[in-house]
Amino acid sequence: MRRSRPSVNAGSMADIAFLLLIFFLITTTIQSEAGINRKLPPPKDDIPEGFILKRNLLVIELNSKDEIMINDTIRKLSELKRIAMNFIDNGADCNYCKGAKDAHMSIHPDKAIISLRSNRDTGYDAYINVQNELVGAYRQLRNRESMRLFNISYDELKLQYSKTGEIAIKNKLKTIQEMYPEKISEAELKQ
C-alpha cells in the first residue's frame, strides 16, 4: 500500500492574499502628478514699465476677496479667457492674427504682455484659476495656428514630440511658440 504524503493545506492562501490585497488597495494613492508649468523670471529682471505701450499691456489684478479686475473693471472668471484671447490676438500689426485690430489693444502677440498682480491675501485657488484660464487662452490660439499651418493641433504635436523626439516636430512647436509667446509677467506681490 502506498503511503500518502500529507499535503499542506492551501485553503488559507486565498485569505492571506486577500489580506495583502486589501492592504495595498487602501494604501495606494495614485499620485496626481500634473500641473501648470511656469517659468519664473530671473532675479531682478522685472519688465521696465516705461518701454511698454499701454495698449500692449493687459493688467489683471486679484484682490484680497478673490475678485478679478481687468484694466480697472471687475470681471468674472468665465469672461477672462475670451478677454485674454481678444487681447493677445488683436494684432493690429500682425498678418496671422484673427482679432478685431482694435486701436486700444495689442499690436502683435509678441508685444502683448499680460501682467498678473495679486494681493498677499489672495487665495491660491483663485490664482490658479486665473493662470489656468490664461494658459487656456494661449493654448487655444496655438492650436488654431497649428491647425492652419500643419493641419495638426498643437497638443497633438506636443504629444508626438514627447513620444518620438524628432527635430522636425520640435521646429514646428517652436514656430508656433514664436507666433504666440506666453508673456505673463508677475510683478512682486502687493502688500
Binding site: 492551501a10 492562501m13 486565498a14 492574499a17 486577500f18 495583502l20 490585497l21 495595498f24 488597495l25 494604501t27 495606494t28 494613492t29 495614485i30 499620485q31 496626481s32 502628478e33 500634473a34 500641473g35 501648470i36 508649468n37 511656469r38 517659468k39 519664473l40 523670471p41 530671473p42 532675479p43 486679484l62 472668471l77 495679486s118 494681493n119 498677499r120 491675501d121 489672495t122 487665495g123 491660491y124 485657488d125 483663485a126 490664482y127 490658479i128 484659476n129 493662470q131 489656468n132 484660464e133 494658459v135 487656456g136 493654448r139 508677475e186 512682486e188 506681490l189
Partner: protein
C-alpha cells in the same frame, strides 16, 4: 468489487476555488506595482486646486517638492494654524528653501541640473503671500522652472 463504488450521480459538482488564490495574487501584484509610496509624510492639509490646462509631470527623479498649507489637526497644537511650508518631513521657514534647493541640486548629476523642476504642492486655501515668498526665494537660487501641481478637473470646482 465494490471497492470503486461510484458516488451517487446527480449531485452538482462543487465549483473549484483552486484558482482563486491565483486571481487574487494577480490583483495583488498589480497593486503592488502600481502603488507609489509617498516619499513624504504630509504634515499639512493638502487639497490641491483644480485646473484643466495641465501638463503631465514625468521624470519623477528630476522633481523636488515644496508643500505648503495649514498644519493638519494633529500638528496644529504645536505648529499653529497659519499656513506653513513643509520640506521633506518637517516644517520649514522661508529661509530654509534656498538651502533645500541647493542640497537637492547637489544630490543630482551635473547634466541633470538644468532640467530640475520644483513642484509647488500648495493647498487651495493658502494665501498668495506665502506662495509669492516661496517664488521669490526660488528666483534667488535660480530654480526658475516651477510647476503648480493641481488636480485635473473643471476649474469651476474651485469656486465654492
Amino acid at each position: 468489487m465494490s471497492k470503486f463504488k461510484k458516488k451517487k450521480s446527480g449531485e452538482l459538482p462543487a465549483i473549484s476555488t483552486a484558482s482563486l488564490p491565483d486571481i487574487v495574487f494577480m490583483l495583488l501584484f498589480f497593486f503592488m506595482v502600481a502603488t507609489v509610496m509617498r516619499e513624504n509624510t504630509l504634515m499639512i492639509e493638502n487639497r490641491l486646486p483644480v485646473a484643466n490646462q495641465v501638463e503631465k509631470l514625468d521624470k519623477k527623479n528630476l522633481v523636488m517638492y515644496i508643500y505648503a498649507g495649514k498644519p493638519s489637526s494633529r500638528y496644529s497644537s504645536s505648529a499653529g494654524t497659519q499656513a506653513r511650508i513643509q520640506l521633506n518631513d518637517k516644517f520649514a521657514n522661508i529661509e530654509d528653501i534656498a538651502p533645500f534647493v541647493l542640497a537637492e541640486r547637489a544630490a543630482k548629476r551635473e547634466e541633470e541640473i538644468p532640467f530640475l523642476i520644483t513642484a509647488l504642492k500648495v493647498d487651495g486655501e493658502t494665501n498668495m503671500g506665502l506662495v509669492g515668498d516661496i517664488k521669490k526665494e526660488l528666483r534667488e537660487v535660480q530654480a526658475l522652472k516651477i510647476n503648480y501641481t493641481t488636480r485635473i478637473g473643471d476649474a469651476s470646482d474651485n469656486l465654492k
